[in-house]
Assembly symmetry: C2
Homo-oligomer: 411 residues x 2
């Protein structure tokens, strides 16, 4: 949680954090600022001090909405920078960062870099800054011990945001189910009132529309994959394809608050009208594993132990897994789940390579999503909910929705 950041900085010998980029669609920045319309920004958090938000003059009102102490870039006049840096834009930017850091009292020690932006220019500027300030050590983290560790457990406000996204997500999924159920089946196809086949593209458009109506955004799109495509976990489905009866449809939806806030992640597998035996069998196996894992979840247990357990359960049913068949594209081909917050994928991780610190701690938010995939048989099944766990070890999804496989349609 945010209140851990100072301690984490001390433990990891960091003098400051430098967060770059806009206050929208930028997890590290939004964590400090909330969602505000500041399109160009930097934030410096010195150990023992408050974070300072740097922003352009035209966005001063929006920057103020963050409630943070702030400074206008106007305090670093372009002409002055230009003169001192000899007109080289990269050096001018590096010089501005040097001044901003010095103004925050950061003159030596380790400074960690954060922010989502175009990396080419930043790579040039950070290298120039490192040369200007050799007494600093600029560091980036693949396994981030500060912000990712702070973000690991969510506070009540964050949980409320994610819970709200869960309500939006499941209500949109409900609307999709109602829409599909109200169409008509003929010759194995789903037809609308005009007798036209309902396509995957049309369903996806409605999802975008209903998410927007509810105040959410869908930056990465929706997986609505039928038959063979359902057998490839990240296949998003073919927009031009008509919906057919008796096919497994993997419907995976992962929207965020508009302008890039908290995410939700949710999957159901549906068969329209009826489920063929082999689809039903796979579904029952996935559901059995899902419910077994759910019943076995324990506070503070390593997430990866449940991935191992999932592999064990699927293997006992005769399915290949990444453990028994590395690189397999059939059977259980991904990890059990992942943490979720301002990123759709974040700690805790569940894969075999996840760290032992990736436990199901109180306040963590994570998905449970076992699945089975047989693309060559035209089949895929996945069930996914987003969970949290209370300090007394109570695990529950952040939104409820039936797990049913068959979606009835008019004959």
């Amino acid at each position: 949680m945010k209140n851990e950041i100072q301690t984490l900085m001390q433990e990891n010998d960091l003098e400051a954090l430098l967060v770059m980029g806009p206050a929208q669609h930028n997890p590290a920045m939004v964590y400090f600022t909330g969602l505000v319309h500041v399109s160009k920004a930097d934030l410096i958090l010195r150990r023992g001090a408050e974070p300072v938000l740097f922003h352009g003059s035209m966005e001063r009102d929006e920057a103020a909405q963050s409630g943070l102490p702030r400074r206008d870039y106007e305090q670093y006049p372009w002409k002055e920078l230009q003169q001192e840096a000899g007109g080289d834009t990269t050096q001018m930017m590096a010089l501005r960062y040097e001044r901003m850091l010095r103004d925050c009292g950061v003159t030596q020690g380790r400074v960690a870099i954060y922010g989502q932006q175009e990396i080419g220019p930043q790579f040039a500027i950070l290298n120039a800054l490192q040369q200007r300030m050799p007494e600093l050590t600029l560091v980036g983290f693949v396994n981030d011990p500060i912000l990712s560790q702070a973000m690991f457990r969510k506070d009540e406000t964050e949980l409320a945001h994610i819970r709200h996204m869960g309500q939006i997500t499941t209500s949109v999924v409900g609307r999709v189910a109602d829409f599909l159920s109200s169409q008509h089946a003929r010759d194995g196809l789903l037809l609308d009132k005009q007798g036209q086949p309902v396509t995957i593209g049309r369903v996806k458009s409605l999802i975008d529309l209903w998410l927007a109506e509810a105040g959410a955004e869908n930056p990465e799109g929706t997986i609505f994959a039928q038959g063979r495509d359902a057998g490839v976990p990240h296949s998003t489905g073919n927009d031009a394809e008509a919906l057919r009866l008796g096919q497994t449809i993997v419907f995976d939806i992962f929207p965020c608050q508009a302008r890039g806030g908290y995410f939700y992640d949710f999957t159901r597998t549906w068969c329209l009208g009826y489920a063929p035996d082999e689809a039903l069998q796979l579904y029952e196996q996935v559901r059995h594993v899902y419910e077994t894992i759910r019943s076995e979840l324990q506070l503070d247990a390593p997430f990866r132990s449940y991935h191992e357990r999932t592999c064990e359960l699927f293997e006992a049913m005769g399915h290949p897994t990444l453990r028994t068949h590395p690189g397999t594209q059939s059977g259980f081909v991904h990890s059990l789940g992942h943490g979720l917050g301002l990123r759709v994928h974040e700690r805790p991780w569940s894969s075999t390579t996840a760290s032992a610190g990736d436990i199901l701690a109180a306040g963590t938010v994570f998905t449970i999503e076992p699945g089975l995939y047989y693309p060559e048989r035209g089949l895929g099944v996945r069930l996914e909910d987003t969970y949290t766990v209370t300090p007394d070890g109570h695990f529950a999804p952040l939104a409820d929705f039936p797990l049913d496989l068959v979606l009835p349609v008019h004959g």
Copy 2:
């Protein structure tokens, strides 16, 4: 245009481009791949060769949709990387990039870095990669001479995308105008049929909804700023505020194709019901400047010369500009316009610091957006359209919409 890239690489002594990150909301990657659902990707373009797309196994179908030669990360088994890198994740990632580059025949020379991602991890990985491969020089560009130069002029396909976004944008603006005009005025407020004040937040929600319906996304939100807020160019407006008659409303909308494709950028200033004299006067001045600039545009002229000309025109009317009053927050306080494409702001630039190469060349796409701002008088006016220019020097907006100030409402 894309066909310039090889020549630009040669001129700038670049052996390869390394583009990192997803194929959505990532301009440099989308430029090569188009919009496809590949959430983790890299692309290597070696001089004289075709670009190669690297992707995860689960996203193989989506990666194939790019039409590019491709390689699955499975070809770089995690266990092998782990063993060779001694279990250090940063080194493992750097080692994988080393192998990917070597497999593309890139073993020496300058390699330019691109892509929109979280910069912290990439900064660590690129530094490790640089140490592993000292015969390479990894470079980032603030003023990018390769892709930004290629993107500078749009080809017919790109122009069609932007034109389509222009149609969507102006049709949504038309729906907003119709919606506002169909409400009722009472006591200086705009009321809906239930007699409730129409708020800025409600208008913005409708905009998001209608954009989603049309297949667009609004990742940075809309500026719908009234009165004093209209006087601050990037103030987005206060969602809770009720719409009032006779106030200047700056309505600036800049959506993109869903999942992060081409943008459009458009602004109108409206007064509901009537325009007070001082609003009308500012509007007429801005419109005069807008039309003067438009009539003076010439093929291949430096964009910044029109910014200078705009300052000159506004100064002659007695308004402060950034030329006469550096750092001013009243008068004409921003630059005349900017290029637009897969980024909402890109070359050509129009500010006084823009390069002489930022000309209005055939196929460039750019905004013309003069404005006047007097926050302390509760006034702001901006008019903006997105233009392109043909090889024979014909300038025209990519979508048409009336410039009118007053939006009639029922009495």
